[in-house]
């Protein structure tokens, strides 16, 4: 998805790094990576380390990092296509144009918010999220060591604590109930809530974001959303 842009901007000191949040590892990620034929690093993150470090709960999620290793745009949903752009409330090429602007103008780009603004946009985990992450970390370890059944209660506890995490939910489905990832019922239900967008709108310039629901309210909404979709024995 980003290969063409990467080739366009590489001579402006610009690199793309993709990270596949896939417990299935190289085997799961290989088909899509080979289709893209990337010249940029395409990394495999079996244990969702990057998701935990950056507070990522859905994919795709992008972060802009400057030459000094500083976050200049906190995690957000990027748009490489007109369809994605519409979902995040911007014009069809606005996101890639913003990246081009950053490549050319660097720190002077209008798309780089001031440090204080970046801090306020960075999501800080609370104790519930930290506990969920520990369960998820334990679940991943057990799963990757062949202990599928021992891992399952810890995946479920991570999800119980953080029903709003799509990375937890869809990875768990990929591990145990892959048919759920094919079935779009959950997606349609999420899109229909209206209160919590599946992909939050991107904050460019003066675009005023909708008031974000508190973490607790978001959890309540997702918990209610997934009750009818849960299997009877859960």
């Amino acid at each position: 998805m980003w290969q063409a842009l990467r080739e366009e901007l590489k001579d402006q000191n610009f690199e793309v790094i993709t990270v596949a949040l896939d417990t299935g590892g190289a085997e799961a990620a290989r088909p899509a990576i080979e289709r893209a034929s990337p010249t940029h690093p395409s990394l495999i993150d079996e244990r969702h380390i990057v998701a935990e470090l950056y507070g990522i709960v859905n994919v795709p999620t992008a972060v802009w990092i400057d030459e000094t290793g500083t976050i200049v745009r906190p995690p957000e949903t990027p748009a490489s296509s007109a369809r994605m752009a519409e979902m995040i409330g911007i014009g069809p090429t606005e996101y890639v144009d913003a990246l081009r602007d950053w490549a050319v103008n660097g720190a002077a780009s209008v798309y780089i918010p001031p440090a204080g603004e970046r801090r306020s946009r960075l999501h800080r985990p609370d104790a519930t999220e930290a506990l969920a992450a520990a369960h998820f970390r334990l679940a991943e370890h057990l799963y990757l060591h062949g202990e599928r059944e021992a891992a399952r209660p810890h995946f479920e506890e991570a999800l119980r604590l953080r029903p709003e995490s799509w990375t937890y939910r869809r990875q768990m489905w990929a591990n145990y109930e892959p048919q759920n990832n094919m079935n779009r019922e959950w997606y349609n239900a999420a899109m229909a809530t209206g209160d919590i967008p599946y992909y939050p709108p991107v904050q460019f310039g003066d675009t005023a974001p909708d008031a974000a629901a508190t973490a607790q309210k978001q959890r309540e909404i997702y918990e209610a959303l997934f009750k009818p979709l849960m299997a009877p024995d859960q």
């Binding site: 999620t61 802009w64 970046r118 801090r119 985990p125 999220e129 520990a134 970390r137």
Partner: protein, 144 residues
């Protein structure tokens, strides 16, 4: 009775042959404590590299216990002191010590992009910090 356990601390993983698990407590010999978590017991308290945490007065025995020949240290008690979540799986005797939410918050305040090292399809390892000096557009995706 001592038992073998697996300790997951930060991104590391260590097998400890001779741990004492008692409810929410896990008593490790001092050498195992350091091997599994990097923490060492010193006169100043529990130390990780340059950082030392004094053990709370009057509660030292919740952290340190003499075990005849060798002392044992209760790592979960230190984790609780530092707001780190502790999760144990009794069936597999695996203990996971997670990142503290306040510590992660402080790290995010610095606006420094957290570093990580991951493999590509060929198994070559890449650290984010290898790309210092370039503007990096980092994108997380998934096959699911």
């Amino acid at each position: 009775m001592s038992e073998p356990v697996t300790v997951l601390y930060a991104q590391g993983e260590a097998r400890v042959d001779d741990a004492l698990a008692e409810g929410g407590d896990l008593w490790l010999h001092l050498a195992d404590l350091t091997r599994a978590s990097g923490w060492a017991l010193k006169p100043e308290g529990a130390c990780l590299g340059e950082v030392c945490v004094p053990l709370p007065a009057g509660r030292r025995n919740r952290f340190v216990r003499d075990d005849g020949r060798d002392a044992r240290f209760n790592l979960p008690e230190l984790a609780r002191l530092l707001d780190m979540p502790v999760v144990a799986d009794s069936a597999t005797r695996t203990w996971c010590f997670g990142e503290s939410a306040p510590a992660r918050g402080k790290q995010l305040d610095s606006l420094m992009a957290p570093d990580f090292t991951l493999p590509d399809l060929g198994g070559g390892m890449h650290a984010l910090s290898d790309y210092r000096g370039k503007k990096v557009f980092l994108v997380a995706w998934a096959s699911w």
